[in-house]
Each structure stands twice: as structure tokens, then as C-alpha cells.
Symmetry: C2
Subunit: 338 residues, 2 copies
């Protein structure tokens, strides 16, 4: 398999690449090469693998050249995040909508020149769902809940789902859209995503740093661990069209959990001193965005692919701690554990 | 009101313009000027009205100049039709998706320069609905049925609905998407729409011409008369945001009728000799597209605006005959009536 991962330098993309390189196969075929396309260079450990190469720069300008490389498969993860898209409307249109369209058109051009249709997994988002006066948001959204995005990010993801379904119906690509839940715990620094605090309230206290939670403890949200998200993307890639059960986007499995339950899990795994580093201070901008997100999700189609939610938020916290211990800066990232 | 009608030279657009010019007001304000933008020049009777001017050419290249004219309101009806979009994928993307995006971006630029947000009614379509393995199509689609387009045309309309909702949420425009049912009886020649025969099987026999029906008599379909479609577009323009009940697209009222019932109505109004000019000859391409369309629609949100379906298909046939009698070529268009 000759594989492209857009956003391959990002957290989920790099983790996906590591997982696939360790497996050595995708859809039963040997993984021959992996191209990581991103704005920034991918992590050094990935570049050290002889199968890996990087294409650094904005995706929009690279699509035609990328398609000419003749990939068998694509994971299209590159995206501006929700907070950025809400603050900068044009950035979101360009990074999320125009780039995806350009990638689809480049792959279509190659298919129309006689090449095989590339298999493409698009990372959509639970942010496609939201409340509208005409359709109140159910507390728990399902695969077939009517999407009504309340952020530009969610709108862009939904529009790309529909573009992908139609390019697939026409045979230009073999596309599949998987809606990621909020992936937590992300390492590193807070990013522009409105959901960034769902990682921050675990990551910062474990590093010995105070963290502010911008929403109330009763806010419920569908989350998944990084490893569950990666497993979901791979399963959606490997599924037959029949097993996927349709061309529309499908939800990946969610652990539906409240902020209070997340903090209780942190305390159970890491102790009360760590938990005590989180304080609540409402941020109206963040709280307003989150209030329009579903408080939970089901994933019936993903379940039929054998995918299950994370067992508990304690397990998610433990996964993060184990991941940190494997990193060179482990002492810093887990300084709060004492 | 300074008004723009894209597709203003087309059948629905010209009829809308005539209706509004006769009323002289829109949303309680005097209609000062009406600009008709279309690929071809609008009908002469419209150009004879001092309030009317034309902008002839492809919409995509005109959007910035149009937005600079500072319209209070827009009816965006310009569109490539379903059969064309299925045959020529790039034409559909350009005419339906890129043009709408360019229009929205031009109106946004003007609003961001300090102008008021234009009110914009977008003509979406019942073709947004279709069957998918994950969501079987209900026999009758409602406002909140999950769209799963099975044509590129339907996908483009749905994508534009979501763009419009987000541009409206951000305050760039005051947008409303109204899903037109199949408008029948259209005058003139068959066009590239897969639904063209829904007019042809009435229009041609009335003109004394044989007509071929490409689908079976049991095919059911949601239709509306031209005057109902125009009344729906105006009501959606004039409704308050609250009365509209949300930002998502809404169905316009449908008369749900079978091809057999349409032909029975033709016979009742025009006699058995006219009816006998229609013969059935299955066209797999057309039948395949139509099989993926809903067989009926409800329109609860439109009903709350006071909109009702046409009373009967007989009434729709009579409306067409009366319209023909007002035309200079009446003798030709009704030659079959004897």
C-alpha cells in the first residue's frame, strides 16, 4: 500500500502513522510507503523510518502534486480546528473546505485518467451535530441524527462528508467519513480548538500546572482516547463498503462522560493533589460553543465493525500516563505525579 | 426594496419577477428595482418594466459586481438541472456549488464592509433526499428527514443549504433555503432535468404532440404548480426568522401524486384524445434517477407560514391551460385541445 496521511505531522496523524508502521500492513497488504503531508515537519521518529517521507506546506497548494504520486489510500486528517474556524471564517473555508475539495478533485482527475479510485478516510467530527429550532438536539446523537452544525468547523466537516459521498457514488474515490469524538488526552500545548480544555484539565495537573476548566462540572461530552480514535480510522479504512452500511458519515465510538466524572477519574488514578490543580472559571465563548455540542453519542455502525468505546475515563487517563512515560520529556509531562 | 433574482430569465425566476412586479411590494416595502441575472436575456415583457434591468452572463463571474450593487434582497434560483449535473460533474460543481459560494462570499464582503446583511432565499430541492443503506428513504419525506442525496445536483443543493445556514448564523446574510418540489407544468421545450417528463406528459399532448413517459404509471412524486412554487418562495422571503423555525432548509408544499393520477387528471380536463398521446417507454437512466427520489413530501414548517399544496392535479392542468391562453403562441401550445 502506498499511503498518504494529510495532517500526518499532527497528534492523531502521527499516532496513526506509528500504529500502521508497527503493524506493517493495511487492509491485508504490506505497507510500502507512507507520505506525511502537513504544514510542519513530522516528528523525527517517523522520518527515521525508511518507508516514511514528508511533504511540508499548506495542503491546498499540494493537492495536484500529491494525487500524481498515485496513492492507493489516503487518510485525510488535515484540518483547522473549531476555535480557529470560528474566529477566522476564511481560514476555515480555505483549510477545511477548499483543501478537501482540491484533494478530491486531484484524486478524481487521476481516476479519470485511468487510475484506480483511491480509498480515502476523511476525519469528520461530532461537531456536525447541533441544536436548531426546527430539530432539537437529542441528548445522545446517533449515526442517523439530522446534523445541524452550530460552528463553521462543523458545517465544513458536514459539507465535506456530502462531497465525499457524491465523489464516491460517482466512483472517483472510495470515500468514507468517520466522525471523531473529542480525542483526549492530547499531549503538548493547548490548541485553538474549543474542546482543548478536555485535554488540558487532565494534562496540565499531571504536569504540575494549574488548569482552568471553562465549563461546569455537569457538562457531558462524547470522548475517545487517542488509541481508540486511531483504531476507528483504521477499521473504517479496512471495512468493505457493505460492512460500512452506506455512504453517509458514521460516528466513531464515544465514551459519554461528564467533566465531573473526568476529574473524579483523574483523582482516582493520580490522587487528590493532582485533581486540586483544576479550578472552574467560566469562559462564555467556550461555554457557548460547547453548549451547542451533543452531550453524548452512539455508534451503531462502528459497533458492527467491531469498534467499542473506551472502557472508562480512568483507562483514558492511564493511557496518557503510559504514553508520557515513553517520551523523552516524561519527567516534565508527569511532574505533577510527584 | 432593491432585489436581485438569479436565474431571473428562467421559468420560475421570470414568473416570480412578474408576480412581484404586479404586487409592487416585498416584505411590506415598495419594490424599487429588480435585477434579473441569467445566462440569457429575460423575457421582453419583463424588460419593458421600468423597474427591471438585466445582467446577462454566467453568474460565477458576476458575483462581486452584483454584490457591489447593494441589494436588500436576493432570490438565488440560478442552477444547472439534475440531468446536466449527472452527465457533467464539473458543470454542476461550477454552476451550483461554486456560483453559490461566490455569491455568498460577495454578499459577505459587502456586509463586512459595513453594509446590511442581504436577505437571501435559496431554491433548494426535494432532490436532497434519497435512500442510503444506513437510512432507508421514508415514502414521504419531512422537513427533518435526514438528507442523503443520490444525485450530484441533490448533493450540491444540500451543501449550499449548509453553507447558507452558516453564513446566516455568522450574520453575513439573512439566508433561507426552500426546497422546491418538482414544478409542473413547465412551458416550452423539454430540458435536461431528469424530472422534465413530469411536465412533458401534460404539455406535449395539449400541444397535439406525442409524449413518452419514461417511468411507470405507479411512480409517485411530490409536485407543485408554478404559482404555488412562486408563492412559497415569496412567503419564505417575507417570514420572520422565528416563523421560519430554524436555519435549516424547509420543504415547500407538495401535491403527492402518481403518474397515473396525473394522466387521469389530464384526461378529465382535456379529454381522452389528449390523454391518448402519452405512451409509456421505460428509460433506464431517467427511471434510475427517479427511483432514488422520494415518492412524496410533507411541509410542516411551510404550513405554519400559511402555505398549502395545490388542491388537485386537475387544478394544476387548468393553471397551465390558462397560462397558455395568455401567451402569444396560445394556438400552438394548446393545439391538441382541438
Amino acid at each position: 500500500v502506498k499511503l498518504l496521511i494529510t495532517g500526518g505531522g499532527g497528534f492523531v496523524g502521527a499516532r496513526l502513522a506509528r500504529t500502521l508502521l508497527a503493524r506493517g500492513t493495511l487492509a491485508g497488504q504490506p505497507l510500502r510507503s507512507v507520505v506525511l503531508a502537513d504544514q510542519a515537519a513530522p516528528p523525527a521518529d517517523l522520518l527515521a523510518d525508511a518507508r516514511v517521507s514528508a511533504r511540508v506546506g499548506p495542503l491546498l497548494g499540494q493537492c495536484t502534486a500529491l494525487a500524481d504520486e498515485g496513492f492507493d489510500g489516503v487518510f485525510h486528517l488535515a484540518s483547522a480546528v473549531s476555535g480557529e474556524c470560528e474566529a477566522d471564517f476564511e481560514l476555515g473555508l480555505r483549510s477545511n473546505l477548499d483543501s478537501t475539495r482540491a484533494l478530491l478533485d486531484a484524486l478524481r482527475a487521476r481516476q479519470q485518467q485511468g487510475g484506480p479510485a483511491a480509498r480515502l478516510v476523511f476525519s469528520s467530527s461530532v461537531a456536525v451535530f447541533g441544536p436548531d429550532a426546527s430539530v432539537p438536539l437529542p441528548p445522545v446523537v446517533a449515526d442517523d441524527t439530522l446534523p445541524a452544525p452550530q460552528t463553521s468547523y462543523g458545517m465544513q466537516k458536514l459539507v465535506c462528508e456530502h462531497l465525499l459521498a457524491d465523489y464516491s457514488r460517482k466512483g472517483f474515490v472510495d470515500g468514507r467519513a468517520a466522525r471523531l469524538m473529542t480525542v483526549t488526552v492530547r499531549p503538548g500545548r493547548p490548541n485553538g480548538a474549543a474542546s482543548s480544555f478536555f485535554s488540558g484539565i487532565i494534562r496540565e495537573p499531571l504536569a504540575g500546572v494549574e488548569s482552568v476548566c471553562p465549563v461546569g462540572a455537569d457538562v457531558r461530552h462524547p470522548v475517545s482516547s487517542p488509541s481508540s480514535a486511531v483504531a476507528g480510522l483504521i477499521a473504517v479504512y479496512e471495512a468493505s463498503r457493505e460492512a460500512l452500511g452506506g455512504r453517509l458519515g458514521l460516528n466513531l465510538p464515544a465514551l459519554n462522560v461528564s467533566v465531573g466524572e473526568m476529574l473524579a477519574a483523574l483523582e482516582q488514578v493520580a490522587g487528590p493533589a493532582v485533581r486540586a490543580r483544576v479550578r472552574f472559571e467560566r469562559d462564555e465563548r467556550i461555554a457557548g460553543i460547547v453548549a451547542n455540542w451533543p452531550s453524548g453519542a452512539t455508534a451503531a455502525r462502528a459497533a458492527r465493525l467491531g469498534l467499542v468505546p473506551d472502557a472508562s475515563f480512568e483507562a483514558i487517563v492511564r493511557q496518557y500516563i503510559e504514553d508520557c512515560r515513553a517520551r523523552p520529556d516524561a519527567a516534565q509531562t508527569l511532574k505533577g505525579l510527584g
